[in-house]
Amino acid sequence: MSMDGRRKLLIVTAALLAVLLATPHSGSYIIVLVTHALIFAILAMSLDILLGFTGLPSLGQAAYLGMGAYLTAILASKFQFGLDWTFWLVVVMGMAIGAATAAIFGLFAVHAGGVYFLMITLALGMCVWGLAYRWNSLTGGDNGIVLPPRPAFGIELADDVTFFYLVFSFFVAALALLYILVRSPFGRSLVGIRENELRMRILGYNTWLHKYIAFIIAGGFGGLAGVLWAHAHGLVSPEDVVLATSVDALLMVVLGGPGTLVGGAIGAGIVVFLREYLSTLVPWWQYVLGGVYVLTILYLPGGLLSLPERIRQWRAHPAGAAEAKPMQSASH
């Protein structure tokens, strides 16, 4: 690992420690907010595998969150399953249903490129939304499903601080696993596909299979986020799988910095803060959310994490500062 890589690892570890130590001592509302942000951070990181590392901008990532969340809610409310130690089984099942859904969806989506990939993932996401919205007998339709109190297996997840620790652990585990993934030879091949798919194909890589596997992995982690979201929110409804959730996930990644994993987490923190906190303070919060979208696209092509690099470049060559690379990969 290079000096630079070690320094980045140190910064991320310090930031994680700060979140871990500071959050439990904050107000009860902040604890809930951070928990939600960490869950969406898992969703954003799963999307970053597609968008940042493989170059596939999915407009339907909320579908996998929805599958995990509805599975959790249906098992808990109809069968009282997953409310004791079986919670861990539901975690595995949630990841499996996310991955399985992605495995089916991927058959349609992965071969498509560019704007068609956007459209087809949008349509797939709308399929899941349509079922959630109309399949009343299973999903409760528009009203959704209210979950029973959170699981207890020796430790009581009903306590928000305990639940925060659990979600934090899942977040760190997801970050570590995905980090190992993107630094593996497989992850390097994904970056190669992002940079130049044709060249990778000529080199003998099965690029379709690589993209397909990345799509499934992203779906699995999306499903995990869904399981946690169901218990965090206590209610699963079609609102969770609307197009806006998928688009928000994209913004999180682009805002933080695609191809960095932690960028998505930072973006998730900002978007959750705007949607859940600022919206309670001011009635005009959507101007801020819309403004963040527009400004990110116009002025932050590489996301927030590209700022230090851009500032360094600006100091070195004040004139060429505008030509910062749009995609900054942490795995350099």
Binding site: L51, P57, L59, L107, F108, A109, H111, A112, G114, V115, Y116, L118, M119, I120, L122, A123, L124, M126, C127, W129, G130, L131, Y133, R134, W135, N136, S137, V242, L243, A244, V247, L250, L251, V254, W284, Q286, Y287, L289, G290, G291, V292, Y293, V294, T296, I297, L298, P301
Partner: protein
Amino acid sequence: MDTNFWVIQAFNGISYGALLFLLASGLSLIFGVMRIVNLAHGSFFLLGGYVALTVIWTTGSWLLALPAAALAVAVVGLLMERVFLRPLGFDPLRQVLLSVGFAYLFQQAALDIWGGDNLDIVPPGILKESAVVGGFYFPIYRIFMIGMALAVGLVLWLAMEKTRMGAMVRATVDDSEMARGVGINTSRVSMFIFALGAFLAGLGGFIGGAFLGVYPGLDFAILPIAFAVVIIGGMGSLTGAAVGSLLVGLADNFGKALFPEISYFTLYAPMVLILALKPTGLFGRE
């Protein structure tokens, strides 16, 4: 399920399809010419309804609201294309996110200006009545919607097939690089098409206001349906938009009536299949 059911549902489906055509024909042209996934198109529709309401409240004229709403939204679209989308260059992801940003800004602005209530555009006298044909009651407003869609479709078709601008648009849809190569100002074409698309969406919002209502959230409710039309029919094709609108309008009505639990699934699953098998849609060109 007697004849009455089939006749009424078919009529409702066709008239809903007519409204969808107004919304989706512009989206289809925008997509065909610029390859932009414009998620603000539903906002254009909603803004059309709101502007029309303001015109009706201040002047009392329903007829005047029609061109006013469409033109006001066209100006908004024109500015958005010139000031923000054009400098962005071709990058599908960034265009999508920018259009979402605008959708949120428009949503908030609409909320601030027109409030959060469900509003309704009340059409003038005769349009509120029903025509009785062969024992069936057909609301005249729905007949009017079909008439509007036919008229707009005819004008668009003539413009695309018979005018110089139409030929330039068709050339850009087929191959924008080649079009630029033979001296077509594709930037001008894009500006024109984006404004036209916004114009049609605004018009649709006005027409649909008496039928769907005008309320916050209508923008994102109608948007995916418009995309279903565009995808099923084929991007950049007027015939496709017409056939797609009709299919989606009928599928939506019969789906909700016959198998309500999976009715939206039956709308979006064909969209996925067509994208996977023939990405250019039923009538799109290769």
